[in-house]
């Protein structure tokens, strides 16, 4: 079902947490609300499921305006960060709870619970209590409980935050599989760009209660609208250096580095101070511009090494490359960067 947030605002007292947000989630799409803590992404989620009342604006499920519909009547499935399983009920009772509340016939409840338990692979755990399950199993139960009522939309609030690294990887693909199998519209709230990029069709990146950019993960990575977006996506993160447009080139202050202006950037007037973003994977052996610096740190990652390059002006760039034997700590190096992969931002963070 299509979900539309129409000029939605939310204030707590005098604090405006969400300011005039308009967001459309297409039917069957999985959308990530990505942003740092306090950016308003959880508030948005709570507004969609009806726990928070909206201050102004509308929320539409399909064509139905649910702005003033109680959470009990909205039929949304939510997976909470802590899973919020009912500790005194067995797994079976947990999953059946939304159906029991709706007074479905017992046979129907049994059929739906079993069907859902099969989908999320917890058929053998139905008689246990939540305390007797691992984190990943609890997560599956929470998913089953959220999905069993066939909700209009599935909301996932930091669903992987409480899992260890290996389980997180597994549940990432599991949640995506289940979402695709059921074809349900889903919204994933997360602060982890890897989760957002790997699980979702589109990402809405938020900061300070506003959506900065909505795009597919690939598009957003390749073409960030602001320095904030560029800085949020990618691991290891992008590095920024200050430069000034001079003689059709970008001169880095006090570092004797001159970079060509990327082709897609608008014309940059002479003398404009700019911020240049360089992703670690783009600094290395290939390219049309040279960057000189000293290797100040080497982090071993197994397949690759992450090198910190300190420029003459003290700024640090990062480069991720295959493990090389010819570079060691404190070496002076001259590595190359492709000018068409540089991002150019104005001082206020807007992409040039």
């Amino acid at each position: 079902m299509r979900i539309l947030l129409d000029h939605f605002s939310k204030s707590f007292g005098s604090v405006r947490v969400i300011d005039d947000m308009t967001l459309e989630i297409k039917d069957g799409e999985m959308l990530a609300l990505l942003g740092p803590s306090g950016c308003g992404k959880s508030t948005t989620l709570f507004a969609i499921c009806g726990i928070h009342k909206v201050t102004s604006g509308r929320i539409l499920f399909g064509d139905r305006d649910v702005t003033n519909v109680s959470s009990q009547e909205r039929n949304v499935g939510v997976v909470f960060q802590s899973y919020a399983l009912y500790p005194h009920m067995t797994v079976r009772e947990n999953i059946a709870f939304p159906l029991r509340i709706r007074s479905l016939p017992e046979a129907e409840i049994k059929r739906l619970v079993n069907e859902m338990a099969g989908l999320v692979h917890i058929g053998s755990l139905l008689d246990r209590r939540p305390a007797e399950l691992s984190g990943g199993q609890q997560q599956r139960v929470a998913l089953a409980r959220a999905l069993v009522r066939r909700p209009n939309v599935l909301l996932l609030d930091e669903p992987l935050a409480n899992l260890d690294a290996k389980l997180r990887l597994e549940m990432r693909s599991e949640i995506r599989r289940i979402q695709l199998e059921t074809g349900i519209t889903a919204i994933l709230v997360t602060h982890d760009q890897v989760e957002a990029m790997s699980m979702c069709d589109r990402i809405a990146i938020m900061n300070n209660g506003q959506i900065i950019q909505i795009a597919t993960p690939q598009e957003m990575y390749r073409n960030p609208r602001t320095a904030f977006v560029a800085g949020f996506l990618g691991n290891p993160p992008i590095a920024f250096i200050d430069a000034v447009a001079r003689d059709g080139m970008l001169a880095v202050e006090n570092a004797d580095i001159r970079l060509p202006i990327p082709r897609e950037a608008d014309r940059v007037p002479e003398g404009t101070p700019v911020v240049v973003g360089i992703r670690p994977e783009n600094l290395g052996t290939e390219g049309d511009a040279a960057i000189r610096g000293r290797v100040s740190f080497i982090e071993t990652q197994g397949r690759e090494n992450l090198y910190d390059i300190t420029l003459a002006n003290g700024k640090v760039l990062r480069s991720i490359q295959r493990v090389r034997d010819d570079v060691s700590l404190h070496d002076e190096v001259e590595w190359r960067v492709r000018s068409d992969q540089l991002f150019l931002f104005a001082q206020n963070g807007e992409r040039l």
């Binding site: 709570f46 726990i51 009990q72 939510v78 960060q81 509340i101 709706r102 305390a131 007797e132 009522r149």
Partner: protein
């Protein structure tokens, strides 16, 4: 700053000294460093208080329960007193009417014991000789008869001597007091030399004024109709107050305050806490003012033509109403606080989850709150049962068991028996026995609760982790 430096320097001195003497400095105060020794010392005041004010009373109650101590017997030893009451007891309880009559009647016996006493007093030997020869072994039923006989002796003793002599031959025990068993029996044998062992035992028992060991208290309790009435009163009082106020009403308050905003909820809780934190005397006095024949209730109802009366003590039903409400309002606050904090301990996300799962508030109460409040409910039930069983002050101040004993509950009955009653004979022993029974009832009830609520499972370490 300087203080801490002082400490450091002070600590450094023994360390230096130790280096010189090759003994570790801590060795000297070793017991202070062991947690066992120090712990015991720090515990000592508490232990003394526990022994003095808890263990001692409990033990003494157990001891007193098996005595017939009362105001009449005192709590130290007694004497042997041949009162009319004691003689009646001898006749009625032991069936020794003859002995009782004999002991009760004044009698004057001419015997060697008396004659010897006369010799020592320096009475004329001629008189003594007359008595020995002519009258040895005679018994006279009254003083007048005996003295007439004396006056008729050949020596004709004067009146003063007659009085002195007659005193020595008086062998009546009525209204005399003996400090020991031996002197009592010696005197009794003076009256009736052929006392059997059985008669001696009965006499000693009947005349003793001090307390004795006995299990009569429990026999009396088991056969008394008052016991049944007081027991039923107590069961009614505890059950009604516990169910209506201490759990149900407390739960209602806790749930209500959970769903209203924090600030009014806090004010609401404080209001319901007032009965608990205000002194019992003032709290009950307010109720009395409210219910008196010149109080608020009467004055208000007077407007509708209802005769003013003391509503609290008007009828048994009214008295019960007030006793239960007064005690209930005190008890409800505790349940409210415990249930409130237990509800607060339920993660907020569970309520969110229940809301989006479609559960409205009453369904959340039924499916989320109540099932997770099993342990607090047990605790409050158990604790309040025991405190209601032993609670006394509100009931004492409100109705004092009235009207006509209608609201006399067990603890109040103990107080009335042992410490304060109209007759003035405070029965410590019987009261202690009643208290002992109350303790046993409390222990038995606790065990039943623990069984019913499966205590062990409840106190097991919670396995939920978030």
């Amino acid at each position: 700053m300087s203080a801490s430096r002082d400490i450091v320097e002070a600590a450094a001195v023994p360390a230096g000294a130790a280096a010189a003497s090759a003994h570790p400095p801590r060795w000297r105060a070793g017991w202070l460093n062991s947690s066992r020794g120090l712990g015991l010392i720090l515990l000592m005041p508490a232990l003394v208080l526990v022994v003095l004010f808890f263990l001692m009373p409990v033990v003494l109650t157990g001891v007193f329960a098996f005595t017939n101590m009362s105001t009449a017997t005192g709590i130290s030893g007694g004497t042997y007193q041949v009162t009319p009451g004691a003689l009646r007891e001898l006749a009625d309880r032991h069936g020794m009417d003859e002995l009782a009559e004999k002991l009760g009647q004044p009698s004057f016996v001419v015997d060697e014991q008396g004659l010897k006493a006369l010799e020592e007093m320096g009475i004329e030997p001629a008189i003594i000789a007359d008595l020995r020869e002519g009258h040895l072994g005679e018994t006279h039923a009254s003083r007048r008869e005996f003295e007439r006989m004396l006056r008729d002796l050949p020596e004709r003793p004067d009146t003063r001597t007659v009085k002195r002599i007659s005193g020595e031959f008086s062998r009546s025990l009525a209204n005399s007091r003996f400090s020991s068993r031996e002197s009592l029996l010696a005197a009794a044998e003076g009256v009736d030399p052929e006392l059997t062992e059985e008669e001696k035992t009965a006499l000693v028992q009947a005349t003793y004024t001090g307390w004795v060991w006995t299990a009569d208290n429990f026999r009396r309790m088991a056969s008394s109709r008052d016991t049944v009435r007081i027991l039923l009163n107590t069961i009614f009082f505890v059950a009604t107050t516990l169910i209506i106020f201490n759990t149900a009403f407390a739960m209602l308050l806790a749930i209500t305050t959970h769903y209203i905003p924090e600030r009014p909820a806090g004010i609401f809780r404080i209001i319901w806490f007032l009965p608990r934190i205000s002194p019992a005397v003032i709290y009950v006095l307010l109720w009395k003012w409210f219910a008196w024949d010149t109080g608020f209730l009467s004055a208000f109802l007077d407007n509708f033509g209802i005769r003013p009366r003391n509503w609290m003590l008007d009828t048994a039903a009214n008295a019960w109403f007030f006793v239960i409400v007064i005690n209930g309002f005190v008890g409800a606050s505790m349940g409210m606080v415990i249930f409130s904090s237990a509800i607060k301990a339920i993660p907020e996300s569970l309520f969110h989850a229940a809301s989006v799962d479609g559960a409205y508030r009453w369904q959340q109460v039924r499916h989320i709150i109540l099932p997770q409040l099993k342990w607090p409910i047990l605790f409050v039930t158990c604790y309040q049962t025991l405190s209601l069983l032993t609670s006394i002050e509100q009931t004492l101040l409100a109705t004092d068991g009235g009207p006509g004993g209608a609201t006399e509950i067990w603890s109040l009955a103990i107080y009335h028996t042992a410490l304060n009653n109209y007759a003035g004979n405070l029965q410590y022993g019987y009261g202690a026995a009643m208290a002992l029974v109350l303790v046993v009832i409390g222990i038995v009830l606790s065990l039943i609760y623990l069984r019913v609520f499966n205590y062990r499972a409840l106190v097991a370490k919670p396995r939920i982790e978030l």
